[in-house]
Every structure is written in C-alpha cells, then in structure tokens.
Amino acid sequence: MTNFIEMTGISKHFGGVAALSGVDLTIAAGEVHCLAGENGSGKSTLIKIISGVQPPDAGGVIMIDGVEYPQLTPSDSTRIGIQVIYQDLSLFPDLTVAENIAFAQHLQGLRSVNRGRILATARAAIARIGISLDPQAKVGDLSIAQRQLVAICRALAAEARLVIMDEPTASLTRTEVDALLGIARELKRRGIAVVFVSHRLDEVLEIAERVTVLRDGRKLGTWNAQEMTPRRLGSLMTGHEFDYTITAPDLSAAPVVLSVDRLSRRGDFEDVSLDLRRGEILGVIGLLGSGRTELALSLFGMRPPDTGEIRLDGASVTLRSNRAAIDHGIAYVSEDRLSLGLVLEQPIASNIVLSILGKLAGAFGLLRMDRKRAAVADWIEQLGIKVSDPENPVRTLSGGNQQRVVLAKWLATQPRVLILDSPTVGVDINAKDGIYAIVKRLAASGMAVMMISDEIPEVLYHSHRILVMHSGRVKGEFHPAQISEAELREAIDA
C-alpha cells in the first residue's frame, strides 16, 4: 500500500502549552485508521493541521502524494481530497439533502442555481455508497444517523480521498454503527482512506487496519488493529489500568424503595414491573427506542403512565409532575446534559444550587448567599469537581466535570431514588471511572440507583442487577456474574 499522507515531527504550541509535540503519522491510501486519545490528547489539533485550519509549528513536514508542504491551507486540503466530518456534522438543517451534499456548487458566485446538476451530484454520491436517501428531503427532518450519511455523501461529492470522522459513533445505536462500518468498508474498497477519531473505539477496531494512540500531545505508537484490544487501548489512552471486576452483592434482603407494578404508557412501554432496593444499582439496558428513557421519564413524573402502579416504600404514589417526583425523593439525571441538565452559560455554583433554591432562601424568600456558598463548596468537595472558580460558567468544564455538576445538582435534593440516564455519554475513560466510583459510593450509603445505559460493560461491571428492555418491555433480568458480555449483547439486540 502506498502512503497517501506522511507527517513527521508535527508540533503545535498554543501560548506556552504544547498541544502536540513531535507527532508522526502516516495514512495509507484506502486504509481505515483509528486515531485514539482522551480529550485533550491532541487529536483535534492534529485533525485541524491535516485539514489546514491551523498551521503546525515550524519544523514539521507534511508529505502528500510525494509533495512536501510546510503547512496546509483549508483550500489545499480540500483540493487534495481531505474531508473532515466534524462531530456536529456541519449540515444545514433547513436545506435539502441534495443541497447539503452539493453545497460547493452554491459557492460559485452569481451564477444561477442549477437544480438539475445539484440533484445529479447528490444522487451520484448517494449511489456510490449504496444507500437509500431521499435527495429532496429536508436535512432537519432526518435522524442523526441519516444526517451522518448526508455528511459522508458531501465528502464524496467533494472527491474525497481521505475522510476523517470525528467521534462518529457517539450518538449512534449499535445497528447504526454497523451500517456506518459497512459504509467505511465500501469507501475503503473504492480506495478512499478513512480515519476514525474517537475515544470509544471498541466497534471501530473491528474494521480498522491500524490504530494510532495519542496521549498528552505525544504519540505513543501505531499498532495493527488485530493486536489491539479495547482494554489495552483504554490503558494506553489513559495511562491507567482499568480492570473492573463484577461486584454484585446479594441485596434481596434489603428493603424495596421503589416498586413498579405493570406500568404501561401507550407507544412508550408496556407492562413494566420492577423492584429497586435500598443500596442497589439496577442497570437498565436497551437500544434507543426500547423504552428505557421513557420509563425513566414516567418515574420522574414527566410522562404520566396510562396504567399500573408506582409505590415508594410500599405506599402507592401518583407522580403527575417532576416537582411531585422531586418531593417524593426521586432525582433524574438526563441523558442529554448539554441541553437539558445544565445551564451552560451560567456559573458552576448557580447550576449546583438550581434544584434547591427554596432550601437556601432566608427572610422574604431571598437567596442567602452564605448558605449558597456553603452548599456549593460542600458539593464540589464531595464529588471532587475540579474547578478553579465556582463562578466560572459550566461551559468551561470538561465533560466529566460537567457530569459531576449535574449529579451535584440532583444529589442536593437529597433523593432516595437516583435515576441516571446514560451517565457517561461523552465522558472519557478517566472521568468515567470517577463517576462509577461516585455512583457506587452513593449506593453504599443507602441510595437506590437506577442506571440506564446502552454500554454493556457499564451495566455489567457497575450494577448489581441488569434489566434488559426491548420494544417497550422488560425482556429479561440478569445477574452480572451469570452472564457474559456476548450473551448480554445478544439479549439486547434480539
């Protein structure tokens, strides 16, 4: 295989901080290559250098097709055939699929729109990866997975020879990931190189040839994908060994805190019964659309069930609003912390106390600043949130620390039942470990925790009991010690 891109000695400093130091990277024509690293490892900076968005420090060499470049400009990189698909996909939701794919044609100044040519370009790109996609549909009406296909087609329409995908699997279900991998194979067959950039590479390892791992701006090495396991990759990326063992104590004697009896809600879930005990972590796993999040929302009072009963400490309760659920001691940490869980522009401190403003009020219902400061300091310490100043906006924190702020906000309500929906989405391995430790500590202190997830290792190693949901029903209950990852995967997908 011939090398398409050879980069040697690439460094990049921002101010005095080294984002990349002396990194070498080669990408062969038609290769599937994984670029792995935690947040802050320098992988985004490396992509920006390849795509010409940022110049590297002097001294590095970029060799493409045998031509040497000290640095690339965005137009160089587009001309050579390098296309980056960013995590946000950079699409225009109000334009059609065809217009998004062939948008480059709209950049030709004052010339009038040639709809026929745009449609033809789009159809050709769609046909090349053999998918069905309506070119006249509005992108805003498509699912995330379909939007990703649009972004891939746009790269193809731009005559890509290298497609770099930034965190492509982050918001996809397993089936959608499989479809994406199929497309990556198809691109490879056509001689187009694919680089997957991710910190969640288990799936991608299956089809990659080589893996390059970055840590703290340095390259640790490039390995053949066959000799790499997810566990080894994890320890390379973080520099720690994360060797989780199954810890599932027998809690059948502990009192039941939350009991759900034949709960149904039309179109969401049906006939769900479960018991959640004091000190227990109950893992609930299922695909997107399996009803897992809908069930959580019903337990949190946001989507009242049609039939069935919810009991707290044996007493039947009706939860008509989330306020009622909070008053009954139920807290829900949503999956989408960016849009639902946090006010990103607001200070960390204000986010933490958002759910307990009433308790902090003094005379005339005015906020007591001393109480607020005490509560904030307390939670920052208890959850080990790394902050330089609690008055900084939440936006300035890393994913893991943001998730801790959300947790603090809900724990401040002193719940007896804590429902966590995909608590480690978008959080890197080190930070995940911290969150698991917090959850286990909470359970040990007597809280009943329900942890919804679509990551198998997450429920297998960090919960005491596993419920599998499928098409709105509970399909099975498993003890972590008595089921393997493969068996669990089968139960979820079937």
């Binding site: 939701p93 109000d94 480059a104 950049l107 009038s112």
Partner: protein
Amino acid sequence: MPKTSRTMIGASLLHSHEGKLLLVVVALAVFLSLATRSFFSLQNMVDLLTSYAFSGMLAAGLLVVLISGGIDISFTATASVAQYIAMTVANHFHVGWIEVIAISAAIGIACGLLNAVLIGTLGLSSIIVTIATLNVFFGLLMFFTHGNEIFSLPDWFVNGASWVVYTDADQTPYVFNLQMIGLIGAFVLTAILLTRTNIGRQIYALGSNVEAAKRVGIKVFRLNLLVYGYMGFVAGMASLIQAQDAQSVSPNALVGRELDVLAAVVLGGASLTGGVGTVWGTILGVMLLAFLQNGLLLLGVPSYWSQCFTGAVILIAVSALAVERQRHRAAARRVMA
C-alpha cells in the same frame, strides 16, 4: 398505493404553512366580501395594493434578512432619510426620476451596509445594532429637518406614472401605478435572489447554521453586506413610492411601522432564528394583515379595537405556527426512534 394528483396537492396544501395561510386568507376574503359591500370591489383592491405597496416591499427585504438569521429594525428610518434627502434634492436641483432613484438607492444601501459593518466588526447581535441605528438615523433626520414636512414636490414626481387598464360603466378608471410596479418588482426580485441564485442558497445556509456556513467556505461578512445592503436598497425604493402615493414627505410618518412589517413576514412563516421563509408566504402574510386592517375598517370597528384585534390575530397565528413546528419535530423524532 398511487395517489391522484389532486389529493397530493390538497395534502401538501394542508401540510405546508403557506397552504394553511392561503386557506385563512381566502376564508377571510370570503367573509369580508359577504359582510361588507365594498371589500370585494376592484376599487378596494386597487387601493389596497397601492397603500400596502410600501409595507409589502419592506417585507420582501426583511424576509431576506430574517432568512440569513439576522433582523433589521432600522429600515423605516432608512426609508425616511432616503425619501427626505431625495425629495429635497429634487426640489432644489433640476433632476428627474433617474437621479431621484439613484439617490434613494444609494442612501438606502449605505445605511444597510453600515448595519452590516457594525454587526460584523463589533460582533453584536443584529437586533441591538439596528435598534440603535434606527434611533441614530431618525434622530439625525429630525435634528436637521426640525421635523418639517415637505408639502410641495416637483410636478413630474407628483404626477408619477400610471396606466389606465380598465374603465367601468361609470367611467371610473382603474389604473396600474408605480406602487404596484414597486411591489411586484420587490417580490419578483427577492424571489429570484432567494431561489434562483447561489447567493440566495448561501443566505439560507447562513441562517440555517452559521458555523457550518463558515466551514463550507461562505464569506459571512460579505454575505451580510449583501443582505443588509439589499434591505437598505428596498427601503430606499419603497420610500419613493410611499412619497409618491402620499404626495408629501414627512420625516416622522414612517418610523413606527417596522413592527407591522416584521409581523407580516413572521406570519408568512419566516423564522426569527433564520434559515426558513418564502416569498410566497410573505406575500400571504402581508395580504392577511392588509385584509384584516382594511376589513375591520370597512366593518366600522373603531381603530383602537382594530389594533387590538390585529395584535390578537398575530398572536394566534404565530402560536399556531409554533405548535405546528413542534408537532413536525416530534413526528421527525418518532421516525428516528
């Protein structure tokens, strides 16, 4: 299952915002035709077209700004400045139509470009910048003119140009006038810009996702110059046909009408967050407001009640639009899951 083309048209009529709006406008027109004697008359239609030409033209310009993801509040002040200066020049120098059009176009474009430069270089939101420039433009105009109106305009301007299209049995002539030309011209020009040129598609893209627009290589600052410049140009043109219709120029006659124009464009389905809107919808939005205000007048509703009623209709229509979009999004989500 094959569908007949008629049910397809019927379905798309009911599914698009424009379709629903058309039904509302038609229903209102039918009601007013039955309830009043004069609504459904050729003369009333000619009057409506003439008197709403100013608002309609501005709506076309504002549509472009809203699609780009911005907003402009200052265009009534721009129009006032443009018509005042153009007419003052016309009164003092020996000039004709071409010069007057060139002057008001130049002033309009200059004001628009100033907005774009302030928005682009200061990185401020367009609503703040244009509220400020509205006050600056208007304040300067009032200071230099002392609020004095211009009552006598050149004869060639006062006479304007109109073509008798039809004379009825009572020898009443029905004319095609400058106002209609301006109105039709603004809508046709805007429609071509938005749907037939690459620049137009770039404007939709910009309003749809600014970050993506930058990444794909759209020069945002230059595009904003064009968008706000176009709004200013349209305001300059509209100011002339308004002065011609009013037969006089008053520096404070226009400021205050910007929110009516904004309401018409939003009624027409344009989104305040950008990326969405059509000329067809804007035309219907203007028609709805025009019919409503005219109809209430003909029905003898006192003018304050008429204002209140118009406000209520805007509220209902915009709420319906919001509910419709939410449902649409929910439906799209269900498809995903």
